[in-house]
Symmetry: C2
Subunit: 398 residues, 2 copies
């Protein structure tokens, strides 16, 4: 039976991502993965969470195992609101909804506000998970180039002038895949433009807490006076992605609509994982946990950058993140990053993600790629960077 | 700011369900709830799951807390396939995907195969969660009446002849909200019609294991030779809904497409809850657990039916389920079930769900309502049925 004819126009264009294909090759434990986007597993508080889980099920098992409310477990909502308040992301009249990971938050917003063929602005390059969610609601993706301090605002205004853009998607802190942080000036400018051209902004801030250098910059949500910023974050990068705890903070009216969409999507996020996360946030020093993660990532990032200085050819450039998990490497145009990454994983067992995965047009070859420094120990980072450097030097004749 | 203009045509028609509104009133612990659709909380294996959770996090915490694969935790997939095999729901070339509750399974199928304005057949009445998922992809819902042995096949064929139906949605066992089980003859007929008119069938079987009377009937999936049945089930009714573990079994090609849609939706179902469910299925006697649940529900159902015989007026009729969680009550047409249910919860603290919630056209008043017998102890069941009976007798003058 040929199923192709049954698929919707929503589903047809969705392809298994190149990252996932690479993840299959990475099942080999010998592979040095600079490809992922997850926290260092050594930082997971396994034992603490195990104790909490046992306690939750023993003392409050019925609540943990029964149906919960769609908007989330009330004490978790309060704890997450507290985190959002710290970055000014909660305005009067706002509500919060707990989502099954940040991804569901982004996907629910897409379903609620993005109509077929609507123009949606994204950073070029941007997070593939959101791009695919937007593709699945048939958005017309428009990528706007990034400068060192975030999206180019002149180019953004050019787009807003000529297109009827409903939503701007941005990851202002330590962007995925570039590691770039948007300046305060640009955050204000983006908000001004959104007001001028009547767009919503989806501010995705999963990495914001993971700052290891420089000073924090106000969230766009904290600058918003009109309620047009929908703020999405998660516990995936500061606690554990496998728990799948994300959240959206936005105007109450919008959250009510998102809640109804979530109800048709998965009824609610599992109660047990919500309750475990709540107890961790309440009983343990989460700020100390984050501080530890920042120390580790700051050290690993500095180490990876020093390896790149040492092993990469001179014609290759890269971003210098102040936090988060990623560095973007840009090679001379003669380099085909897709081929490079396949060669690297097959011949040298080193994995990283070429930028085409983060592009609005995935079919174009690129000469840049994303490196992750959070997951591997330092000796593996050095080994991986050395191998990539050798490949690049050979190809570039440097 | 008025957000209405930003909402998609997908989101606009979705309203908070009447059931949810009732759930808010039910927050009062004094309310006798015959409204829910959840297992008896007394059956939750809290302690066993607590031990398992602690063990999983202690021994295998990194796997439980890291990102997992989108299709699900491999040992859970195997354990769930085993359950599906028991009801013949696994054909050669089939695959399984773990979903965040059965609801996500239904919703993913809707996103993958149901295009805007496509004609979709559902039982009339049917499960509101699926109806809303189908509404959210802008399906044109066509309800086909139920007989005592399932959907009326003549009426189904009339629809298939005149409309271009892509998908038939059915809950063949102990249907929600009617409690009706489809006969083997009708299952075969539905499959024949689906082949003749080239439709897919979404077979939703969350209650199938909860049979407390009569003999099991073959799943439609087990009769399917062409791969047009997409089989959805979950652990919500036999283990615990709060864990949010569901699954779809279908032709591998379709599951691959669904997997990509799930990736944009929530990346994967939480690893921890998947691993806990796996260990429970492996280490504990799940059949004994189900047998115990069937005994409890069979007893409670018989008890509720006996109370209805005793307290309900003669002009009222009801279904007699052989399993599952629900009875559908039909009153003379003078009764407005929506008003009755609001009066019952306000004045008598008894909650149940009027059938309009399960209708393709929710705006029409009905004279029938759904009763659940699984969640309340027997004395509460009697108290609730007695109150409803008294209200009905007064209204009907019997």
């Amino acid at each position: 039976m040929n199923f192709e004819k049954y698929y919707t126009n929503r589903a047809k264009p969705l392809k298994a991502s190149g990252i996932r294909e690479m993840f299959k090759l990475m099942a080999d434990p010998a592979v040095i993965s600079l490809a992922g986007g997850a926290p260092d597993p050594a930082l997971f508080p396994n034992e603490e969470l195990g104790k909490i889980a046992e306690e939750v099920l023993r003392e409050n098992g019925t609540k943990a195992l029964a149906y919960g409310t769609t908007d989330g477990y009330a004490p978790l909502k309060e704890a997450l609101l507290e985190r959002a308040r710290k970055v000014g992301a909660v305005a009067e009249g706002d509500k919060i909804i707990v989502t099954t990971g940040g991804q569901q938050g982004l996907d629910l917003i897409a379903r609620v506000v993005v109509e077929d063929n609507e123009d949606i602005v994204v950073e070029a390059p941007s997070f593939v998970g959101t791009l695919n969610s937007l593709r699945s609601v048939r958005a017309n993706l428009i990528g706007v180039d990034m400068d060192e301090d975030g999206m180019n605002m002149d180019k953004l205004e050019d787009v807003l002038k000529t297109k009827n853009v409903k939503l701007i998607y941005t990851i202002p802190n330590f962007q995925n895949p570039t590691g770039i942080t948007m300046s305060l000036e640009k955050r204000k400018k983006m908000l001004d433009l959104a007001e001028k051209y009547d767009c919503l902004i989806m501010e995705d801030n999963p990495y914001g807490d993971l700052r290891f250098a420089g000073e924090p910059i106000a969230t766009i949500k904290s600058l918003d006076k009109t309620g047009r910023v929908l703020y999405v974050s998660s516990l995936s990068k500061i606690l554990a992605p496998g728990l799948r705890i994300g959240y959206i903070v936005a105007s109450g009216e919008v959250i009510d609509k998102i809640e109804i969409m979530k109800q048709v999507n998965d009824v609610h996020t599992p109660c047990l994982t919500q309750m475990i996360a709540t107890e961790f946030l309440k009983k343990y020093d989460v700020e100390a946990h984050i501080k530890k993660a920042c120390d580790v990532y700051g050290r690993k990032c500095a180490f990876m950058l020093s390896c790149m200085e040492k092993y990469f050819p001179k014609s290759v450039t890269w971003t210098k993140p102040q936090g988060g998990l990623f560095i973007l490497v840009t090679c001379p145009e003669s380099i085909n990053a897709e081929e490079l990454s396949m060669e690297a994983v097959k011949n040298y067992k080193v994995a990283f993600v070429p930028s085409s995965n983060f592009a609005t047009d995935m079919s174009k070859k690129t000469c840049s790629f994303r490196l992750n420094y959070s997951m591997m120990p330092e000796e593996k980072i050095e080994e991986g960077i050395k191998a990539i450097g050798a490949m690049l030097k050979e190809k570039l004749g440097e």
